[in-house]
């Protein structure tokens, strides 16, 4: 095995040496410490000793060459055949100390969902622990330009907002978007039609490129003043999933209307005490999820998946909740929702809502859903045709609770009514079973308020 002989450190401050004369030639046998060559530097003239015993095979540096300390001068074939480079290198003054790599950073990365997952855009687990740790520079700039730091995405370690992040926002016009609104748990305001209209309009702070001339993007004409937005990775994933679901699953749609007056009364009676005891708001959503879960136990076909030549009925009931932010849609999952009480569901929903708002959803939070509940009522919708959360078999949207005159026992009464809309994959399900399922949900809801235990 050939050993590399390098230029040794010949004295303090010496960084290179000139080969004055070789004392060996290829084929010469040398013992350890035998002189190999004479080297002159501007400080000293010295002989370079061999660091190993063996036979010189090749002189790399020629007489007269100036060689930096640590650079190769010749090869010696050692008898033992063992590689002695380490020994030789040790003598040289090199700075090639291996330094452990700096810790890898995690980044937000939308990943495509697998077959059995939530099948909506998902976020990798991201460290956001430093999101609210503001440096003096960041605070100073935020105050000066009146920026809401909670609305700025941080690119630093742990999601920290760096000075550069803030400067970028200032450069782009210096305003931050209005707070992200999630539609989880906000339906408590929607008991009257007027309340539904009180929601603040969300001004989207989109930063698009403004078009100056008439032209075309693909086949689509654009006109002066139009804004052209890049499609984010999350947006693209949403688009692909929606197309896939609509394309593969033949959607059918049905709707029932439920009288939830007792539930509204019960919830209004309980909400203050619940908040005091549990620290979270008691919204209508956990009641609706509970009613759906109970109905799914009765009709497990709705808790299933079309798998080509098979239909898979899921054992666990994992409820996906559609949660919209200003610019994206997420479907975090309440795992094993059939084991949770109303209080347990309320807590699970609150946790997912907070995580979504703070952009902390993990991959695990997003996968394993078997049926989706969509709280469209939170933004005042009274009827919707949701797209199925592929590959699930059905999706139910809960519309706004509105007071309506209805006929009971041939008398007109004012009741709190809600529409429940169901989109179903007609490959798996038919109208009959879905109708029965919706009836079950409806009965569960009607019963609530008289006969319910929050815990």
């Amino acid at each position: 095995m050939a050993t590399k002989i390098v230029m040794p450190q010949l004295g303090e401050s010496v960084t290179e040496g000139t080969i004055a004369r070789w004392l060996v030639s290829p084929g010469t046998r040398v013992n350890k410490y035998d002189p190999l060559c004479e080297v002159s530097t501007d400080k000293v003239n010295a002989e370079v000793p061999s660091t190993v015993a063996g036979t010189v095979t090749e002189l790399v540096a020629q007489e007269g060459d100036t060689v930096a300390v640590g650079d190769l001068i010749c090869y010696i074939e050692t008898e033992g055949g063992k590689d002695a480079v380490a020994d030789a290198v040790l003598d040289a003054d090199n700075n090639k100390v291996e330094q452990a790599a700096t810790p890898a950073t995690t980044e937000v990365q939308p990943v495509a969902a697998g077959e059995d997952q939530g099948n909506r855009p998902q976020l990798m687990q991201v460290d956001r622990s430093q999101k609210a740790r503001y440096s003096p520079a960041v605070l100073h700039l935020a105050q000066k330009h009146q920026l809401d730091l909670t609305q700025i995405a941080g690119t630093g370690r742990g999601g920290r907002i760096t000075r550069k992040d803030v400067l970028r926002v200032i450069e782009q016009g210096g305003t931050t978007a209005t707070p992200v609104q999630t539609n989880i748990g906000t339906q408590e305001q929607k008991t009257t039609p007027s309340a539904a209209q009180t929601a603040q309009p969300v001004i989207m702070a989109v930063q698009g490129e403004r078009v100056n001339e008439t032209g075309k993007i693909g086949n689509i004409p654009v006109y002066p003043g139009d804004q052209v937005l890049p499609v984010s990775a999350v947006r693209r994933t949403i688009a692909e999933r929606m197309v896939q679901s609509k394309h593969e699953a033949p959607h059918a749609w049905t709707m029932v209307e439920a009288d939830v007056t007792p539930l509204v009364n019960y919830r209004n009676k309980m909400k203050d005490e619940f908040y005091r005891k549990e620290g979270i708001k008691l919204t209508f959503l956990p009641f609706f999820v509970k009613a759906v879960v109970e109905a799914l136990k009765q009709y497990p076909m709705l808790n299933s998946v079309w798998a080509g030549d098979k239909i898979i009925i899921r054992k666990d009931i994992n409820i996906s909740l559609a949660v919209a932010t200003d610019d994206a849609l997420y479907v975090p999952v309440i795992k094993q929702a059939d084991r949770l009480s109303i209080k347990g569901l309320a807590e699970a929903i609150e946790e997912l809502a907070v995580k979504t708002r703070e952009n902390r959803l993990s991959l695990d939070d997003m996968q394993g859903g078997t049926f989706t509940v969509n709280n469209t009522g939170s933004f005042g919708s009274i009827q919707s045709m949701p797209i199925i959360n592929y590959p699930q078999a059905a999706i139910l949207s809960v519309e706004a609770i509105t007071k309506k005159p209805v006929v009971i026992d041939d008398m007109i009464a004012i009741r709190s009514m809600v529409n429940l809309c169901l989109s179903l994959d007609h490959r798996v399900l038919d109208g009959l079973i879905c109708g029965r399922f919706l009836q079950a949900v409806k009965e569960n809801l009607t019963r609530m308020g008289q006969d319910i235990n929050l815990y």
Partner: protein
């Protein structure tokens, strides 16, 4: 312009100053016949004679004391302390006499003396030939401490030091002597003492350093550039008094500051630089000020693996720079 080594720039500045002003003379151990152990005074005795290139006994207090006296008399002595490690016996002369001459005499006397001393490690010099001693002098008003990193700065600053009317400690990094080469104009020029220099412009992090570490930082910065990290590199050049304006300007530029020196961390120059930044521009900072320095252990070890552990190198510096950039 010729490309010459760091140590040749020292010799060039000495020669030109001795030619320019007959009051300039050098003294020290082996500076004459031997031409200096590092060859910094090579050829000077032949050109200027033994009255202006004086070989002294091995007594640093005497070297400094003679220089103080000669300076007071109107000469311009350039005393060489063979290794900065050996400066300790001369500290009394430098700190208590030279530094206070002007103040003590109410401006009647002054002490235009230069003490040159090679410092720093990484050359297998072990305990007595590797020390960085600059921090010991950086709280002595009346002294100036210069520690250049490039041949260009060496020539300009050594000339400025010799022409300065007060005592200047001129620290030369001994590993830079033959490692660092650069363009140096043949004509006469000086660089003002007390002025730092931006060696590289950048926008992500600010690195403040001097001496050999500055070169390592520049190497690391070059590699990081490929990874999309842009470092702003400030060379202090003068360690006392510090160039506050330049330090603050460099710190504000990126808001993320890494101070690097080979000298021990605690009590080092970096602490003072850090304090200036904290006092002057806290609200511009985007990260805690960081220092990457030699470990706080008594001396540079002789064992090569231990010396490597002790010394900073471009890899260690790159890791620290990257870490700060990602903060």
């Amino acid at each position: 312009m010729a490309v010459i080594s760091y140590i040749d720039a020292v010799t060039m500045a000495l020669r030109e100053e001795m030619q320019r002003d007959k009051n300039v003379f050098v003294l020290g151990e082996d500076v004459g016949v031997r031409g200096g152990v590092f060859r910094a005074t090579n050829g000077l005795i032949e050109e200027f004679g033994e009255e202006r290139v004086i070989d002294t006994p091995l007594a640093e207090s005497a070297i400094a004391g003679v220089a103080v006296g000669a300076a007071a008399y109107g000469m311009r002595p350039v005393a060489e302390i063979q290794f900065a490690d050996f400066i300790m016996p001369a500290v009394n002369q430098i700190v208590s006499e030279a530094a206070k001459f002007r103040y003590r005499s109410n401006n009647d006397w002054h002490c235009p003396l230069v003490v040159r001393a090679p410092y720093g490690g990484g050359v297998h010099g072990a305990l007595y030939h590797s020390q960085s001693v600059e921090a010991m002098f950086n709280s002595v008003p009346g002294l100036k401490i210069v520690a250049p990193s490039t041949p260009y700065d060496v020539k300009g600053l050594l000339k400025a030091a010799i022409r300065d009317d007060d005592p200047v400690l001129f620290f030369e990094h001994k590993r830079c002597y033959r490692l660092i080469k650069g363009e140096v104009p043949e004509e006469d020029y000086t660089i003002p003492i007390g002025k730092a220099d931006v060696k590289k412009e950048g926008s992500d992090i600010t690195v403040i350093s001097y001496g050999l570490m500055l070169h390592y930082a520049l190497q690391a910065a070059e590699e990081l550039e490929k990874e999309g990290i842009s470092a702003h590199v400030l060379d202090l050049r003068t360690l006392y008094p510090l160039d506050k304006e330049a330090i603050v300007e460099a710190a504000v530029k990126t808001g993320k500051v890494l101070i690097i020196h080979e000298d021990n961390k605690e009590g080092g120059i970096g602490g003072e630089v850090s304090a200036i930044i904290a006092e002057e521009c806290l609200f511009e900072l985007d990260a805690p000020i960081r220092r990457l320095c030699g470990p706080d252990i008594p001396a540079m070890p002789y064992s090569p693996p231990l010396e490597k552990f002790f010394m900073l190198n471009p890899e260690k510096i790159k890791a620290a720079m990257k870490d700060l950039a990602e903060f």
